[in-house]
Symmetry: C2
């Protein structure tokens, strides 16, 4: 029953967590697009392409909701939200290049048509503009958090790159998805605290919120990689596993079906498996209850995220953050 959101047959009909900040989103978009103004036309074109490719803008929405809830001034909060999304965008540009990904969300990546040099530099430029916007919030704490988050993300990628392959533990997995995804959600949810002048306790509550829903968000991504149809995600089903990357559904599968470890190990170590063997493994993972087990894990993260909001000011923005947390485990794409 819980799975009906995930099998592509049913779409969520009402997702309105963004209602309280709906009118701010176009301003965030405009703020991001402004960043290439006055620079080289090809750079402007690249920025437009990246921003047109869209995305759900979940991170800026988290930022706008948290800031709105705490009474941060609109202008600074919009600047912060734009900075967060640009930082995220810059990391994606370098990631896609490193992975050699030619599509993201079904739209060609920058590196699909640009040279490696131009792609590296465009990523660097977007880092610079994210930093510029962060500085414009006029908060040294925000700047600190930005720089720390970028260090965490990059260190995580380097760790993943240099770690020998193999079947990771849950602990490894959680560390990896923290660096990759949850750290940026933490930034989005907690940085507004500095704009609104609240203290340590509020910071900790909102940092926790971002951490928990960020973890859940990545687990859901990893679940969707197993259960979605190819057309939904714009990449082949179980692409991580096919690339030797073991995510939570596969780890759960191993716990449920101890014999599965050998095939997973072989895959993770890059030993060639026939496509039929891999398809069989994917089928087993889908059938073993591993998906539900991973979903339980994601739901537990979301529950903790919701709890962290207990002492936050009531109102439409807090409702929005709660709805967004629930959306994370119910989304179909």
């Amino acid at each position: 029953m819980r799975m009906h959101y995930l099998d592509g047959r049913t779409e969520l009909t009402t997702v309105n967590f963004f209602t309280p900040v709906q009118e701010h989103i176009p301003l965030v978009e405009a703020r991001m697009r402004d960043q290439s103004r006055g620079h080289h036309p090809d750079l402007q074109a690249a920025m437009e392409h990246l921003l047109d490719a869209g995305g759900k803008r979940v991170r800026p929405i988290v930022c706008l909701l948290a800031g709105g809830m705490l009474g941060a001034t609109r202008e600074r909060n919009i600047t912060l939200a734009a900075a967060v999304e640009l930082l995220h965008t810059a990391t994606l540009v370098h990631d896609d290049m490193i992975d050699g990904a030619l599509l993201r969300r079904g739209i060609p990546t920058l590196n699909a048509s640009w040279s490696p040099a131009a792609t590296i530099l465009t990523g660097d430029f977007i880092f610079a503009r994210a930093a510029k916007l962060a500085a414009e919030t006029n908060s040294i704490e925000v700047m600190n958090l930005f720089a720390k988050t970028l260090s965490t993300i990059v260190n995580g990628e380097i760790t993943q790159m240099f770690s020998g392959r193999g079947v990771a533990s849950r602990e490894n997995y959680f560390e990896r998805i923290y660096a990759k995804t949850a750290s940026m959600f933490e930034l989005a949810s907690s940085a507004p605290v500095f704009l609104a002048g609240f203290g340590e306790e509020t910071f900790e509550a909102l940092r926790t919120y971002g951490y928990e829903i960020g973890m859940a968000f990545q687990i859901m991504d990893d679940i969707l990689d197993f259960v979605s149809h190819e057309s939904n995600l714009g990449k082949p089903v179980a692409s991580d596993l096919r690339n030797g990357l073991v995510t939570l559904p596969a780890l759960c599968h191993m716990e449920l079906v101890p014999g599965a470890v050998d095939v997973l190990l072989a895959l993770a170590n890059g030993r060639t498996q026939s496509e039929a063997e891999v398809d069989q493994l994917i089928h087993s993972i889908r059938a073993s209850g591993a998906i539900d087990m991973a979903l339980d894990e994601a739901t537990a993260f979301v529950e903790r995220g919701l709890q962290s909001l207990d002492a936050m000011p009531l109102g439409s923005e807090r409702n929005g953050l709660e709805e967004l947390a629930r959306f994370v485990v119910s989304r179909a794409t």
Copy 2:
């Protein structure tokens, strides 16, 4: 006579502009090395390699002298100097990768032994740590300046990449070397003003100083590329020209010897020239007076840099900045 510093026969015997900040340099080094602590061991190794490769640390010296002259507190000034040098280092990592350079200062670049992915990420990590250090100076103006400088540098590289080849004008050349080199010197010389709490006038004076000596520094690099021996620079003589990049000595040569434009155009447009033809052109440039003409230009920049210090507090640090300015046009490497 003026050229005796440049032909490799004579070395400067007394370069003591760094005396007033000599004891701070090891602290800056330590601050930079600290930035990889707690991160992945391979990342630490990469940082060590990059910092061991050294360099003259001219930018942090400028920063330390300017901050010392204005009475910035030692700790913050050291943090700032480390941030400036790390930002510079990060741009070099991506540059060397983009250029496919295997050596810098005669020492293997990161990309000579690392994968492109690891090199990109290491550069990103160093950007992040430069930003972290800049934030630790606790000055939002410093952060702003950092972000703006990085935008300028990257936009300059992208502009160079997308611009059609051809013989540039002096104006193009000056724009290019501003983005590439002088903008970072501006940062190094003017950011300390914010730590010391001086106003717009002092900022403008020190920004001008950084601009002028930064321009002179790059012109000297471009001159040295023509006059140095291969072993001094660790790269072949006139490597820019051989790669189709026209710098000030070649532009001066064109002004002195109008007929030279055809060969230069052919080179700049990537049309193959025999090695003998290129060697002949390099010989002509060296013989035409173009080097002296370029050196006059560099000296004029230095003179303006010295003038900009007129109203600055007297003392060993100001003397150091003046000496450093003169060193820029007398250095042999």
